[in-house]
Every structure is written in structure tokens, then in C-alpha cells.
């Protein structure tokens, strides 16, 4: 198959970006989307042009590094997959595919399709952990966790921190990302002692980083490669209001 590409090229944060057209010819439908970009980049290199910069690493949908908006949708047309797990069979022969970076105020551009998502690390630093230093843990089975709680915590913990939720949101809100971590830890007995402090600190840091507010449109859940549920946002809101009332007391 052959496809045309409109790719966002931007030299650096200071220079304005623009769409540039490319052609990808003789593409095997079983190629991944990133492998198709590899082929385009090989052609560019052979023509002595600079290849398209894009983030990627594991190429199996778990590291969360890949971050393209494809035809207006973060991670492309397929449900519950990352860009690296998007295959060319999801596109038509002759189609024009538009490729952009994840855009958000809190994700400043670096180059082409690469953006800076370190805001997420700072949100985790604010409270996305259990304060237990190495060596001070009791026996694993001394902490019993009901299977249903463990399963629900795992559903939330599956977040890969890619930022698609932010890129999809009209307000560039990071609520789904933050809610996933707050829920993972607050659901478990290990996370309970810091439950209130965690949610207050993480939400404050999220605001500090310039992420927008949540109006629960659900676009985040729709593009999440791990299908993190909107219910976790509701749960975080509950935790947040509870913690706020307690801290006001």
C-alpha cells in the first residue's frame, strides 16, 4: 500500500513548526506505524535530509514513550493501543495521514513529534508513592489485600504515563493520569496512611504544572491505550473532597 503523510516538523521550541508532506510507498500492511516512519526516515537519510524525530522505545505498548497524534487522535485510530502498536492495516491505501505531537501547555515541544513530559514526573514526586524505605517492610503475606481491591488497584496501576489523556483533552487536563496513580495507591492498605496528603499534593502539583481543569468529557478514557476508567477520576474527586474537608477541620 501507499500512503501520504502530513508530518509536523519543528526545528526547536523557538522556531515555529509546520506540516510537511511525505510519501510512504510499498508499505506492508503488517508494518507497525512506527516501522512505516522508520522507512520514511531511511529514505530521508539517503536523500541527506534530516529524519523525523519521534519518541519510541519498547515498541510493545508498555513503556509509554511513543506519543503521536495520528489523524487527530492520540495513538491513532485503534482502541486501547499505543502508537507503537498501531499497524498500517488500520489505514487505507492512498490515505493521507496527519501526524502531530501531543500538544499541551504542560508538554512543551522539543523537536518535530517529541515533547517534554517531565511534568508527569514532578506530579509523581509530589506524592505518587508509598513512603517505605528499603528494608522496613513486613512479610509480604502480613498485609492481606482482598482480591477485588488488588484487581481494581492493578486496573489503575496499568497506566503507562504516556500523556495521551492530556493530548486528547480540550483543556489539556491530566486528571486521568493523576487519578490512576492516586487510585492505585489509595485503594491498597499500604497506601492508606498517606491517602489524604497524597491526593492533595498531587492535585496541587498538577495545577502548578499548567494542566487544565476536568469537565469530564471522557475523551481521555476513549484514547487511553490501557483503557484506564473514568471511574478513577470520580474516585479521586471523592478522596480529594474528603481530604480537603479533613484538612480544613
Amino acid at each position: 500500500m501507499n500512503v501520504k503523510l502530513r508530518v509536523w516538523r519543528q526545528k526547536d521550541p523557538q522556531t515555529a513548526g509546520r506540516f510537511v508532506g511525505y510519501e510512504a510507498k510499498n508499505i506492508n500492511p503488517n508494518m507497525s506505524f512506527l516501522e512505516m516512519l522508520d522507512v520514511v526516515n531511511e529514505d530521508l537519510t539517503k536523500r541527506n535530509e534530516e529524519p523525523i524525530a519521534f519518541d519510541h522505545d519498547c515498541r510493545e505498548g508498555i513503556c509509554g514513550m511513543c506519543s503521536c497524534v495520528i489523524n487527530g487522535e492520540p495513538h491513532g485510530p485503534e482502541y486501547k493501543v499505543a502508537t507503537c502498536q498501531t499497524y498500517m492495516r488500520s489505514f487505507h491505501d492512498g490515505e493521507t495521514i496527519t501526524v502531530e505531537p501531543f500538544r499541551a501547555k504542560a508538554f512543551p515541544p522539543i523537536k518535530d513529534l517529541v515533547v517534554d513530559r517531565s511534568a508527569f514526573d514532578r506530579v509523581i514526586q509530589a506524592g505518587g508513592f508509598v513512603s517505605v524505605s528499603t528494608g522496613s517492610a513486613p512479610d509480604g503475606n502480613a498485609i492481606l489485600v482482598p482480591k477485588t481491591d488488588a484487581d481494581l488497584a492493578m486496573d489503575a496501576a496499568a497506566c503507562i504515563g504516556c500523556g495521551a489523556c492530556v493530548a486528547a483533552c480540550k483543556n489539556a487536563s491530566a486528571m486521568l493520569f493523576v487519578a490512576a496513580k492516586v487510585s492505585h495507591l489509595n485503594l491498597l492498605p499500604q497506601g492508606k496512611p498517606e491517602k489524604d496528603r497524597r491526593v492533595l499534593a498531587m492535585v496541587a502539583q498538577m495545577d502548578e504544572e499548567g494542566f487544565g481543569a476536568c469537565t469530564v468529557t471522557g475523551s481521555c478514557e476513549a484514547v487511553c491505550p490501557k483503557g484506564i476508567s473514568l471511574n478513577f477520576i470520580a474516585k479521586m474527586n471523592r478522596d480529594y473532597f474528603g481530604a480537603m474537608l479533613k484538612s480544613a477541620r
Binding site: L44, R59, C63, I110, I124, V145, A157, Q190
Partner: protein, 638 residues
Amino acid sequence: MKLDARIPSGPLPQKWDKHKASIKLVNPSNKRKYEIIVVGTGLAGASAAASLAELGYSVKSFCIQDSPRRAHSVAAQGGINAAKNYQNDGDSVFRLFYDTIKGGDFRSREANVHRLAEVSVNIIDQCVAQGVPFAREYGGSLANRSFGGAQVSRTFYARGQTGQQLLLGAYQALMRQAGLGQIKLFPRSEMLELVVVNGHAKGIVVRDMVTGKVSSHSADAVVLATGGYCNAYYLSTYGRGSNATAIWRAYKKGATFANPCFTQIHPTCIPVTGDYQSKLTLMSESLRNDGRVWVPKQKGDKRPPGEIPESERDYYLERKYPSYGNLAPRDISSRAAKQVCDEGRGVGESGLGVYLDFADAIQRLGIDKIRERYGNLFDMYHEITHEDAYHSPMRIFPAMHYAMGGLWVDYNLMSNLPGLFVIGEANFSDHGANRLGASALMQGLADGYFVLPYTIGDYLASQKPGSRPKADASEFKLAEQETNERIQKLLSIRGQKTVTDFHKELGRILWTHCGMARSEKSLKEALTLIPALRDEFWKNVNVPGNGEDLNQSLERAGRVADYLELAELLVYDALIRDESCGCHFREEHQTEDGECQRNDEQYAYVAAWEFTGVGNTPTLNKEPLVYEEVHLAQRSYK
């Protein structure tokens, strides 16, 4: 060179306790005066950086990804071993130790492996306390499953994403310390040189991958946790960014490289489909708990799997290894798959594949149970192949997966260069010639949480606080200059071939000549092909762009340049190790049934290679493997 592994004396089960009680300590108020560099943020790097910071050391943590959370440990699927014996099935520290030594085909260090088995139980406790959502029974206790090379259920897991969850636990501990100011983070930073001052490792030179700026960082000790080198083969299950540059630079600065030919090929990966392929995807070994591996009995049988009757299927692992069956260790399962494909009985378009069939398990347990156990793996298989493994068998084939070899370290995990510590996959010490499933996560976290935090003090106590050199010392300036020159050289060639062209060619040479089966002839051929390719690279590679911004071609070029040197050492080691053991299968040395034929008299040693210049024959240093507890035996999984 005299390599001293510094293995403590005394009975095996007491060595670690005795060692801990005798090594030097650093006064708590002095700890903050020591600066430690940790390169890499996978399980080993993140757990080490966090634990060292918790102790009070000042830590700098470097990674090439945009966030420490993305290191490739994240992709480990199946689980982590620990000798908890929660299942009451007869597990013990000794049994885990013995399984690991035996799995490694008696080419690992007894004392290290025993320590690994001892601390395995602490790792689970630590991870649970961090909130890692391990699988649970209805009563709330931890669940286990079995894994290759073991007859007990000792593997802890979090669905098919155990690596991700353990890494997030370590990452969160790292972030906690970063938030407290104990750790300074340097994401998107690539270590390009190790700096040695007066024979001690005292810092690194890094390139900021966004601005291109090359800078120096000095420290009292340097910890490398940068993973393995199997991306030299081009196609592997590694992340695309995983590379060997950090350990290779250290090797060129005097650290010895141990057992480079021990590279593991994982039996259950999705087969290659085309030349454009950029990586291979693993299907967790845990699938072999419920999946049955088979090929048609008849050569060239092209019928769809469903039309091949039971009587015409060869469940070859169950046939050849009745007691371990589909759970035979990785090296054995991989070779068995190669054998049936070589016989023309492979499946799929290319004939390079075998079936992994869940029909029996689905009939026995129901489709829901299988979905609960492996749902995300079946989904992943579907995304890649567009096939539904609930209704027709998966097709799998072996792929490069893990490097057991790595930089040589002593019992303290310190290399022969004082001050240079190497942990996780980047070192060589615990897996011998073959790693068992669910042991990599165990080793990475053992090194980072429970070994290095003790042993690094033994070195630091001998270094006066505040005595580290400044980052503008002449050794650093020189290393920076060398780094810049190398970058400029790569950018100035402007040849006809891309970096990928060279990398793919190197991968083809290694896979064909030094892959699942090796022979004197194939290895000697590779030893002429690799230097020729390396020469061509330095004359004819095209690296577009410049060094002053994000340049992914330049990053890859530097890494491939190092692989072109490392590959030669890997092959040379394979040639000199004239025996078969674990994953290293020399065709000249096999038993009547095609199994590995070890030669303990001549090769029960660690081959630690010393750099003597690019293209020169490296110097071999032998560390004899002394077994005090274990009786060396022919491995049998029958």
C-alpha cells in the same frame, strides 16, 4: 591481571551474613558528603538510586529516556521468583539457589547465586510494602505460578505486567527521593565516557540528548545499571534505545568484560514477518504453563492447525522432556524449536515458527480463566498478528532476549576498576550460561535494594569524604574532548549507507554465525566479516543533522559503532569457549540426543576479557569457578 572475586570464606549459607557483618560502614553524618552516580533507571538502577538516597548519600541518576519510568525493565511480563514457599510445595532458599545454578548450566558463581536466593524473599516484602499490586488469592494472600526450569510455584506476578509494576514501585521510590532533594535526575542524558582518575572510576561524561551539550560529572563512585547488549543482534526483545555504550566505554577504560558469548534466546516470541521489522515481541514464558508446544509430525505439512489431527502432531517438548515438558528451560526449548524447524516441520509462512496451543487449557479451565491469566498477552498477540489465539494456536519462534554476560564484578558487585559498580543485567554474575525465567527481575532488584547499598559502603569508607576530583580536572577535560571528537567524526563521514543499514548487517552476521548454534567455522567467518563491516562503517556511514540538538541518528550511530566492536569480542569469546553450555551451543560439542556437552575440566571458569585496542586480540583472564556445595552434573530435564 589478578581478578579477586573476594568471596567470603565459610559455609555457603553463612557467607552473605558474615560478609555484611565484616564490611566497612560509612558514618551516617558522612554519607551526604559522598556523591554517587547511577546510570540507568531500570529495576537495578532505580532501586539502587532510591535505596542509596534513603541511606543519605547524594545521588545523581541518569537515563536516556524522557522519564526514568520507561526503562526497558518495564516490558518484563511474567514474574519474579522468590523462595517464600507460600505454596507449601517444598520450596526453599537452597532449592531456588540450586535451580538457578543448574539452569545456568554450572557457569555462575555459587556464592552470588546463593545470596540472590536469600534476598529474594526480602524483595517481595519490599515490593508489597510499596504497593505493587501483585496477584492475590480470594483470602487476600499472594498468588504464585510456576515458570520454566522449576518444579515449584515460586513466581509472583502482576497480570502479564510484572516488570512494569515492579519498575513503577522502584520509580516511585526514586521519585520520592527526587522530591526530597536526595536525588538529582538527568533524563534524556546519555553516558558516553567513563572517567578514571588514578585508577579509580570517578565520574562520567554525558551528552544532553536535547541540547547536544557534552558535560562532565564527578563522583565518589559510579554505578552502571545500563542493561544488556543483545541489541547488537539488531532484532531482539529489547527496547529500541537499549544499548551497550556505557558498559563498552567502561570496558575500553579498563573494566573487564565477562562471558560476552552468553546471550539468551527466548523460546516464545512472535516470529519475524518481514525485512522492515524493527523489534521482536516476547510472549511471556508464563504462557507455557497452560500452552502446549507442537509442530506437525509430517515435514512440510501446510494444513491449518485445526485440520491436523492429534495423532499427526508432535508435542516435542513433552516427548523429549517428560518431567518438565513445556516448562523446560529457555535454552533447551529454543534449541528444540530450531531443531524441528531445521527438519522442515516449522509452521507459518516462513517455516520459522512452532505452535503454542491453548485448546486443552481452554477446554479444562474455560476461556474466562485463560483470559484472566493471560488476557493482555493474547491481546498483544492479536494486535501484532491480527490472529485470535483463543481459537487458533499462537505461532512462536525464539529471539534474542537477555545477556547473561556483562562487566565482571566481584562479590561486592564492583568491577576490577575500583569505584565502578555494575548491577543488574549489565554485570555477569548470577545467571551463568542461561537465565531461568522470572530471575532477571529478581536479580535487578536484589542488586539494587539489598546488595549494593551494603557493599558500596565498603569502598566508600576507604575514600576520604570530599576527596573526589572536580568535574573540571584534566581527566574530565580529556574525556570530554575525546567524546566531542568522536561525535564530530561520526557527523563528518557523510557516506552512502545509513546507520540502520550497518546495524541490520551486523545483526544478520551475529544471528547467522553466533546465534542458537555456533561452530568454529561460523565463528571464524564472523571474525572476518565484523572488522570489515566496522571499517566500512567508519568510511561510509551517513549521519544527518548536527550535534547541537536532538539527533536520533547520531545517538544510534554512536551505539552501533560500539556494537561493531563488542560483536567481535562476543564472537571471539564464543570461539575460545570450546564447549557447549547453556545458551552457548557449539555444534562440535553435543551429546547423542543433541544436548549441550560441557567440558568442566577446561572451561569451568569465567572468561574476563581485557581491552587491548580496537581490532587487537583482547587478553583473557580466567576466574576459576569453585563449587563448594554443588556437585557439577549433566543437566537433565527429562
